[in-house]
Symmetry: C2
């Protein structure tokens, strides 16, 4: 099943991470998670030497695998990623560092590649040592079961889940220089941090060939307009990791050379933006207890930073989030959340639209059709657009509502 | 009933705002609130010329009464405050400004004092015009029923309530130069902003005599260590107002003169700190849906600002707040909330205590007695102490948990 979303981008609905040529995935249940037969360890592998790039959490408290992978990715030749779910290997001291190193060493042995070609990521409970006997057996089992069928891709998407209620994956086909280039991606994360089951993870594969430095640049650009635009609860995890591997199996090479034709790079960036945008929104839609997907556009700010601060202030306000949960177009909470973002505003120039209906202008509520507006709040997609009338900069943030279910998930979880 | 809390401070449990000599209060139900016979308008009045100081919301979107009172208090001779609850007179345009002005004008006429001796404050729903016919009748009725009995003080504390579940007031007696000086205070606010029923308000009276500039200095200092240390939901209101009136009826004068004996000023500051601290904590304890009072101490930071950022990051994390609601000593959420506060940390120097039990040290959880710790979480008072080991600065923030009741109050409220 395929869908063309733009002239250059065609969505493929099967395969995800192994849709690009020359990629394999292997998964297993090794017993880290307590729910039996739920996958908890996986390996993504490129059959060919590749380039890689990755971005990590900005949290000052970060997990052992983040520490190790941050160093490894600097070589730029990532070819495999080993991931476990159910245990974050965070706040685990020196033993945690050793365990992450051992995960890489074992994976290198099994795949017969170099240790510095491997990234490691973990997600799950914080502060407990990894059950390394299980992990060792898991790496053996996962690497022994590698393949590139849609089932392998699906299993890989499930193996990284924790409190997620559904797998989140995508693949797209791009036409570059008359050749097919494929991008595949998987992600997880039911909160920016879910309970002690921490973390947002995202892994992307592509069969284009590209220098690691350029791949890094493309990834940063994409993440800025996707993952850096979402917030579930404003709580940044200790383990967040986004990595991409490019193995060149498509025969398409995109050089760094600035005098080269820039069109291939533009198409690739477009495709990567689509993949990261799709996956980032998928995280919000599967946010803990989420019943609504909320897009917040702030327009007409004096700077991008101002627009972002206001959008986040609205997105992180529990009063705004609970109002939308209650399907109430509570403009007062939105306007006042904008007002405390630390940005100078001019109330008389401010317009607020909820679901395209102007509800606040010139410092006062409008006489809009409240029945139409109230009815529109029943949609699962809510749009908030705040026009500041102060300048030419804008920003967008995606978030979800705050429900009873969120409190239940997070209050009833016990360490 | 009296309680001595320090050598200099004795708590008086009746009278609150009219406990200091020469103060009166009058209240009425004029029909702004929909719940019949719940008080919704009140006037605080000093029988003598007085000095005054006030602080207001930092929200860029602020209400008409805030705009007007901010200007009026600059004269420094505040003698009366007129307050209505049930309508915030915020986002009400030019009509809102006129209505606030009329409230002051009418109060001045009734009390036979000058308009610039009067502050006005409003709390309640945002974006609806004040029902001025009711307000006019209310000001007449309230000023006609003034008095200084404990019943008058109690009624005044109730007249400013919105979603508050209980009145919050206090009075203390200080000994300064062998004379009694009394401070009385009332406050309201079930969220920093409660739904559309906005606002934190606090009014303090005292019978000391003091220049307005010094009174302002004392108030700022007190507020910094009390109201500026609390957060319910991180959402700053459009109407926050804290005002103090000093009328000199005790016969004690505290001059600005720096060569004068500083002891009277120190005792007064101590008393004022006690009153504002008591009232600020009372707001948190009556926070929307609150079941726990949480004190967060961050110690050993490189600066006060660093300590404050970390304390607020922990206090505003919905994951921390829901964990405490669920009585779970979830140190991982606390440590990771500290980690994304934008302050450089050294994990190996960080110690975390919950209810005085060391649970996290040197980057790892301790082998503490989890049964004792879990039992301690059932208390309504929770203490979080985070030692950073980086410097000599500290900060404290008070907050409450995030409960199902919070979501119910804020999702079921409809504009």
């Amino acid at each position: 099943m395929q869908e063309r979303v733009s002239y250059n981008i065609e969505v493929i609905t099967t395969g995800s991470i192994v849709a690009p040529r020359g990629f394999q995935a292997g998964t297993t249940y090794c017993g880290i998670k307590t729910v039996k037969d739920s996958l908890d360890l996986g390996v993504i592998f490129s059959e060919y030497p590749s380039t890689g790039a990755a971005l990590f959490t900005t949290n000052q408290i970060y997990a052992a695998p983040v520490k190790l992978s941050r160093k490894a990715v600097q070589k730029g030749r990532t070819r495999a990623i080993v991931i476990n779910s159910g245990n974050a290997n965070a706040c685990t001291g020196e033993q945690g560092d050793k365990d992450a190193e051992e995960m890489v060493r074992l994976t290198a042995e099994c795949l017969k590649i170099s240790e510095d070609e491997i990234l490691v990521a973990s997600t799950g409970i914080i502060g407990r040592p990894l059950p390394m006997d299980k992990v060792r057996a898991g790496i053996q089992a996962a690497t022994a079961s590698m393949g590139n069928t849609p089932a392998h891709g699906n299993a890989m998407a499930r193996a990284i889940m924790t409190t997620d209620t559904r797998q989140k994956d995508i693949a797209v086909r791009l036409k570059i220089q008359n050749k097919d280039v494929i991008l595949g991606g998987i992600t997880k994360g039911a909160g920016m941090i879910a309970p002690n089951l921490a973390t947002m993870l995202c892994f992307i594969t592509t069969d284009v060939s590209m220098p690691a430095s350029l791949l890094d640049k493309c990834l940063r650009k994409s993440v800025e307009s996707s993952f850096n635009r979402i917030t579930i609860d404003g709580h940044t995890s200790t383990n967040d990791t986004i990595a991409i591997i490019a193995n060149g199996a498509s025969g398409v090479n995109i050089p760094s050379n600035k005098s080269a034709d820039q069109l291939p790079l533009q198409i690739f960036q477009q495709g990567l933006d689509y993949v990261t945008g799709y996956l980032a929104k998928a995280i919000v839609k599967d946010g803990e207890g989420a019943t609504k997907f909320i897009q917040i556009d702030v327009i007409g700010a004096r700077s991008r930073g101002d627009a972002a601060r206001i959008a986040r202030s609205i997105a992180d306000s529990p009063l705004v989030k609970t109002a939308i949960n209650g399907e109430d177009p509570n403009w007062g909470r939105i306007v006042s959340a904008a007002g405390y973002a630390g940005v100078e505003l001019n109330e008389s120039k401010t317009n607020l639209y909820i679901n395209d209906i102007l509800i606040f202008t010139k410092g006062m509520p409008t006489q809009c059709d409240l029945i139409t507006l109230s009815t529109s709040m029943k949609s699962t997609d809510i749009q908030i657009r705040l026009e500041l009338g102060l300048g030419d900069y804008s920003d967008t943030v995606w978030t979800c509502d705050l429900s009873h279910e969120y409190v239940t998930i997070n209050a009833e979880y016990h360490t």
